[in-house]
């Protein structure tokens, strides 16, 4: 049971990692191809601030770096699954859609469809975007090296 639960959490985490980095229009576009279950907003989408903390030198004493805007929402399906959505920025609709996806990922009925038709294509697009960015950056890379100077 514990193993099964952690497996479910891994899936939710993986889905959340993709959804949080996707555009709201893309999520909505992919979701529109699936027949959505009946659901209600357990927590209306809302904006807030979270304190971002850093560590001096990467591993030293923690300090407050600054505040970041986040949006969050909670959605409950009629079958009882509750999904949570958190995302940076003020896009409330995105937080709601992420929460809806999170709830559907947990449901036995919709889990597979969400994985195949929403998360997978978004993940592919995200990896493609990252690779392109990395390639663009790599193209401008400069290697510095010092020639041995002849002394005397």
């Amino acid at each position: 049971m514990a193993g099964e639960e952690s497996h479910g959490q891994i899936r939710r985490k993986a889905a959340m990692a993709v959804l949080a980095h996707s555009k709201v229009t893309d999520i909505a576009g992919h979701l529109s191809r699936i027949e959505l279950p009946v659901h209600e907003d357990l927590r209306e989408p809302e904006n807030g601030l979270v304190m971002v903390r850093g560590r001096v030198g990467g591993d030293g004493a923690p300090f407050n770096l600054g505040e970041a805007t986040v949006s969050r929402a909670a959605v409950r399906l009629s079958s009882g699954e509750v999904g949570f959505g958190y995302t940076l920025g003020r896009d409330r609709e995105k937080a709601r859609l992420i929460a809806l996806c999170d709830a559907m990922v947990q449901s036995a009925e919709f889990g597979a469809a969400i994985e195949a038709q929403v998360v997978a294509p978004l993940r592919a697009a995200m990896i493609e975007r990252r690779n392109r960015k990395a390639a663009e950056t790599a193209a401008t890379r400069v290697d510095f090296y010092t020639l041995v100077r002849g002394e005397g």
Binding site: E40, D41, L42, R43, E44, E46, A74, R76, G80, E81, V82
Partner: protein, 201 residues
């Protein structure tokens, strides 16, 4: 997860519902003894009336410690619901509570247990939210004070029976004191600390 799955929802439209509820509470406080309606709807835990839930969603936040009476804290539902939707801390010590939710006003503890505020900060007092039997039937009480033109008659069956006698301490404590909001379903009546009982009908 199973705990959150059973929670009643919050306001369907957070901003407008909170604004209209705030307006109702403000009008009730400004016109003591008058009955105000709370139009907004929200999911409510089993022991909470609609008005109580709407007031909680509107006025409670992480800065307002909440005290629950034995009826409200009989099941963890109310505490969990408050925590999820309002992030308000639920406290055992009534003397530091900003609000007290009372589902069984018959057994209301003595008022000394709640916060009266200080002379410098009279606002740091506990506001009692009492769920009463009826705000339309029962004996008549006549009230007087700021916000009332002459006297206001309130027909209600309020527990505890000696509520107004107990609230007489407000006269001696002023500016400290206790404000009360009576709730029945979606009707509310406020008895702020300046309101005095004139006579019982």
């Amino acid at each position: 997860m199973t705990t959150v799955a059973g929670l009643p929802a919050g306001f369907a439209d957070k901003v407008l519902s909170a604004q209209s509820t705030f307006r109702s509470v403000m009008d009730a406080m400004a016109r003591p003894g008058s009955i105000q309606r709370i139009a907004s709807t929200a999911g409510t835990p089993a022991t909470m009336m609609r008005g109580t839930a709407a007031i909680a969603l509107t006025l409670f936040d992480h800065d307002t410690p909440i005290w629950l009476d034995s009826r409200m804290s009989a099941t963890p539902d109310v505490g969990k619901w408050l925590k999820f939707h309002t992030s308000a801390p639920v406290v055992v010590d009534a003397s530091i509570a900003s609000f007290a939710l009372v589902g069984d006003p018959e057994n209301l503890p003595v008022l000394d247990r709640f916060a009266f505020g200080s002379n410098e900060y009279p606002d740091r007092s506990t506001t009692l939210i009492l769920q009463v039997e009826s705000l339309s039937a029962g004996p008549v009480v006549e009230l007087q004070g700021p916000g009332i033109d002459g006297t206001a008659a309130l027909r209600a069956s309020i527990q505890p029976r000696d509520l107004f006698e107990r609230l007489a301490i407000n006269a001696t404590l002023f500016p400290r004191g206790i404000d009360v909001v009576l709730v029945n379903d979606d009707s509310i009546v406020a008895i702020p600390r300046t309101t005095r009982l004139v006579r019982r009908g």
